[in-house]
């Protein structure tokens, strides 16, 4: 089909019916795969801890593929109510119908439910997962007066960035102590280089320099930067370079500007990048 005649349309996917068919590219960093599989086998929920852009989401996709379960992701925000997760009645025509929320759907079909950035959710929302996250494994659906017992295939997972310093956003002990925690961090340089090269096809020379730049920005963490460049930013910069953007410009757009607005910090990162490329 030529692009001209293609109508714009997005594929509509039903998450619970959607199995990831193609193996997502995931480079194991430590023993996280074994840990996750063990947690899955013993039906204990999993908490992924780590800074932004270090491969948590990618890991979930990979594990979903590996375990051949659908993956249902919920991005948490501070307006997320319990009903948003569990479900609610709606009216269609002259009838009321119950519509499951993503969490209920995941429980019903034995999927993996991934609550992304769970600290963002309101505390009263977080507690609805409590009965589901201990050995009862049930989801109470108050409106319907039902309890949903999770099948063995179901798994609850959530992610959390412990680097945030806000005192208002902390995970309650009663929540976090229900989970097996897997810690993520930026991979070792050799591995991260391999990831960048495999993801983008960037040549080894430029990948080396990008990794050095990443390390430099990570040295700046706590000295004016809240976070160093994540693997994701490196992938972005690498993609730009592959498209023919000059490396210095690519680093500015994909890394420096993404990390900070502070003019002196921008300049410093730019000077670092232009020292490398």
């Amino acid at each position: 089909m030529s692009p001209k005649t293609t109508p714009f349309h997005a594929r509509v996917l039903k998450p619970e019916a959607h199995l990831i068919e193609k193996e997502p590219y995931y480079e194991p960093v430590g023993d996280e795969i074994a840990l996750f599989e063990a947690a899955y086998a013993t039906q204990i929920p999993v908490l992924l801890k780590g800074p932004t852009g270090c491969g948590k989401t990618r890991f979930m996709e990979y594990m979903a593929w590996r375990l051949k379960r659908p993956l249902i992701t919920v991005s948490c925000h501070d307006d997320l109510t319990a009903a948003d997760l569990v479900g609610r009645y709606l009216i269609t025509g002259n009838e009321t119908v119950w519509v499951d929320g993503p969490l209920a759907r995941a429980v019903r079909c034995g999927a993996i439910c991934y609550l992304d950035e769970v600290v963002e959710a309101r505390k009263d929302t977080t507690v609805v997962i409590h009965p589901l996250a201990d050995d009862r494994r049930i989801l109470p659906m108050e409106k319907r007066g039902e309890l949903l017992q999770a099948p063995g295939e179901f798994l609850l997972a959530m992610s959390y960035n412990p680097g945030y310093q806000s005192v208002l956003k902390d995970l309650k002990q009663s929540t976090r102590q229900r989970f097996i925690a897997i810690e993520f961090n930026y991979p070792q340089p050799e591995l991260e280089k391999k990831i960048v090269m495999t993801e983008t096809g960037l040549d080894a020379g430029n990948a080396d320099q990008l990794l050095k730049l990443a390390q430099m920005t990570r040295n700046l963490k706590g000295n004016g930067l809240d976070e160093g460049a994540s693997t994701r930013l490196l992938v972005h910069a690498a993609k730009l370079i592959r498209r023919g953007i000059a490396p210095r410009a690519a680093c500015r757009g994909a890394i420096a500007e993404a990390l900070t607005d502070d003019p002196e910090m921008l300049r410093a990162i730019h000077e670092l990048a232009s020292s490398l490329f």
């Binding site: 009216i91 430099m216 809240d226 002196e264 990162i269 670092l272 490398l276």
Partner: protein, 710 residues
């Protein structure tokens, strides 16, 4: 005045033509300046001075003289008289700016002032030169500071000096650089100097005793100069490999001046070390003239040795102590017979030996060292190129020990010691693992009022930042929240109604909560600021602390959070002192302001008691979130009782744990660059932050608070 004939630089366009002679020049000037010449004032002298100039410059002067003469002949005369010297000091485009300024001045202020501009050509040249192209240390310090921090390695401080050098902990840079005609190039020189000095430390220049090396030569001065040059060649090659982009720029700064002497080739190879430089020095001393580049610093071996020796000793002790602590935390039983449990191993070979990293092994298994240990390893490698065996034997007391001063506590508090009106607090004895009951005697005192104009002066000094701060905090405060599912409110909650309707159709009751309400989000938050008033904050740290408090109060007033400010200090357990600056129930009044101004450094920092007391005060406030923010300049410390060192750290930690248990969130803002070594242990890995430039403290504190509470 009429618009001048702007041309591209005439030096280029007419360079080939021959200069005019004095007679020819005089004839032309006579014609131009006729109105102001007389028998006693002829153009002869002017013509003679212009005769040696290149033809294009002569044309430049004649052309401009003609233009100026159309406005005023006397001005043209003054111009022609000043031109030869002026054109030696500035290029023609600067000269054009000079002429235009003179004519502007003439237009507005008359002949006398106008001709003064022509006469002061030298001044104009200097000013123009500096404005156009100079870069100053102030311009670049922050960027370079961050740049060096990014480059890794030991954290280096920046300062100025007439000639650049480093003592391996501070990099000294010129106050101003105006070598090149553009700011970009001059910034590049700054960057190149800083990188070069960084490279000296990074790539092992000081791994040899340079003073001893050059002392062996007949002319040590010359030997040092040649050594500097050879070492610069080696470092340029190192930089070229590690930072190819900068390597290219350095090559530009060197110009075409590349060294081709074959004896120097070995300095460029990837495995060259300072030993090679020393060897090449011996080979070439007799015959090679040293060169120098714009970005080369001076080597000051006499300054380096003491700094380096002190650091090596300190880091060795700290490293061994850290290993000991790792062992204790590891807790695994000692493998029988193994006396040396730690070892190091080079991790996967790096192409650049100086970038070689090492893994730390415990009983043959790699262990991840805590960040401060990783930093130590890095710094030790920079100094020694390896981790020597004796470093791997754990020892010491946790790395916190400093030399103990003679405790003579008794006379310190003799006479002040009466306990009425005092609070008593327990202290945690880390060694015995129990509390010493009622060990500390603490009193609340008032801060005496300080200069009344301090707050206004601070607000004036940071006026734009204060405005910005207020805007930011207003946004925070103004964050309206839409409360859903309310019994009463301003609007219908459609989601709730639809859901309720659906529920009703199923036979349930229509819920009551169907409205939304706009609500200024209630920040149910109380914060206690605990300010270090120990003697070590004397001088500008104290100024920065007070300024920071002023800025903070401005922000907090906008925000409406409840807050209190107390200072703490003291000497010995019998005289812990807490200074009231602002109580929770007190408004930000003139009295509070003058107390902020009156904060002055006192004695020591017995932190545990202060934390216990302030936590007690904070717990009397009703709030959902309670924050205890410490503004500190170093680790806990006291005059005696061994509060210094591990004991003090552990007691402080214990006090923080107690506070935490009672529902308080502690956080620490510090300016101590070594904070990484002990603050994570006391406050937890994320509950502290370093502002490593005191001058930025006033700008940072409010911002940190904002991040902390959103």
């Amino acid at each position: 005045m009429s618009s001048p004939p702007r041309s591209s630089d005439p030096r280029l366009t007419a360079a080939a033509s021959e200069s005019l002679g004095a007679a020819e020049l005089e004839a032309q000037l006579d014609e131009l300046l006729d109105a102001v010449l007389s028998s006693r004032r002829t153009a002869t002298r002017l013509a003679q001075a212009l005769a040696p100039l290149a033809r294009n410059l002569q044309d430049f002067v004649l052309r401009w003289a003609a233009v100026i003469a159309r406005t005023n002949a006397e001005m043209a005369y003054q111009f022609a008289a000043a031109a030869p010297a002026a054109l030696a000091a500035m290029d023609t485009s600067t000269a054009e700016a000079w002429i235009i300024q003179a004519m502007d001045t003439y237009d507005r202020q008359g002949l006398y002032r106008g001709s003064a501009v022509f006469k002061n050509a030298q001044e104009f040249a200097e000013l123009a030169g500096s404005q156009l192209c100079a870069v100053t240390f102030e311009d670049v310090a922050q960027v370079l500071n961050l740049f060096l921090c990014g480059l890794s390695g030991r954290r280096l401080k920046l300062d100025t000096a007439a000639r650049p050098y480093t003592d391996t902990e501070t990099i000294h840079l010129p106050a101003r650089i105006a070598i090149f005609p553009t700011k970009e190039e001059n910034f590049l020189v700054y960057k190149a100097i800083a990188t070069h000095l960084w490279a000296q430390a990074r790539f092992g220049t000081f791994n040899r005793d340079i003073a001893a090396v050059v002392a062996g030569y007949p002319d040590p001065e010359r030997a040092l100069e040649l050594f500097s040059y050879l070492e610069a060649l080696r470092l340029d090659a190192c930089i070229g490999r590690a930072l190819p982009g900068l390597g290219r720029e350095l090559r530009k700064l060197r110009g075409d001046d590349e060294e081709t002497d074959p004896r120097l080739a070995r300095l460029q190879s990837a495995d060259a070390t300072v030993d090679d430089t020393v060897a090449v020095l011996a080979e070439t001393y007799a015959s090679l003239p040293p060169r120098s580049y714009s970005y080369m610093g001076r080597l000051r071996p006499e300054l380096i040795a003491p700094v380096r020796a002190a650091r090596i000793a300190k880091e060795k002790a700290a490293f061994r102590a850290a290993l000991k602590q790792m062992l204790e935390e590891d807790g695994e039983p000692r493998a029988a017979g193994a006396e040396q449990r730690f070892s190091v191993r080079a991790s996967s070979a790096a192409e650049d030996p100086s970038a070689q990293s090492y893994d730390l092994l415990l009983d043959g298994e790699p262990v991840a060292p805590p960040p401060q240990v990783a930093g130590l390893i890095d710094s030790i490698l920079q100094d020694l190129g390896e981790i020597p065996d004796e470093y791997l034997a754990p020892a010491g007391d946790g790395g916190y020990r400093a030399e103990d001063r003679e405790p003579s506590a008794s006379d310190v508090w003799r006479g002040v010691y009466h306990e009425e009106g005092a609070y008593f607090y327990n202290e945690w004895d880390h060694g015995r693992r129990h509390y010493r009951k009622n060990w500390c005697v603490l009193r609340e005192l008032d801060v005496h009022s300080g200069r009344p104009d301090f707050v206004d002066a601070t607000l004036a000094k940071y006026a734009p930042q204060v405005a910005q701060l207020k805007r930011t905090f207003e946004l925070l405060r103004g964050e309206d929240k839409l409360l859903k599912r309310q019994k009463n409110g301003d609007d219908i909650d459609l989601d709730a109604v639809i859901e309720g309707y659906a529920d009703m159709r199923c036979g349930m009751e229509l819920p009551e909560r169907l409205l939304v309400k706009r609500h200024k989000s209630e920040r149910d938050l109380a914060v206690m600021f605990m300010v270090d008033m120990s003697g070590s904050t004397k001088g500008w740290i104290n100024d920065a602390e007070r300024e920071a408090l002023v800025m903070l109060c401005e922000a907090l007033e906008v925000l409406g959070d409840r807050y209190a400010i107390y200072g703490f200090s003291g000497m010995t357990r019998k005289r812990c002192e807490i200074f009231r600056v602002k109580r929770f129930d007190e408004p930000y009044s003139a009295a509070v302001r003058s107390r902020i101004a009156g904060i002055i450094p006192q004695d020591y920092t017995r932190m545990g008691a202060a934390i216990r007391h302030l936590a007690m005060l904070l717990n009397q406030v009703e709030a959902r979130t309670k924050l205890l923010v410490t503004l500190s300049d170093g680790k806990p410390d006291d005059y005696s009782d061994n509060y210094r060192g591990e004991y003090g750290i552990e007691d402080t930690r214990q006090a923080l744990i107690e506070a935490h248990r009672s529902g308080i969130k502690p956080f620490c803002i510090t300016i101590d660059r070594e904070a990484r070594d002990y603050l994570p242990h006391m406050y937890g890995p994320v509950n502290w932050t370093l502002v490593d430039e005191v001058a930025r403290l006033p700008l940072k504190v409010a911002d940190i608070y904002r991040r902390l509470t959103t």
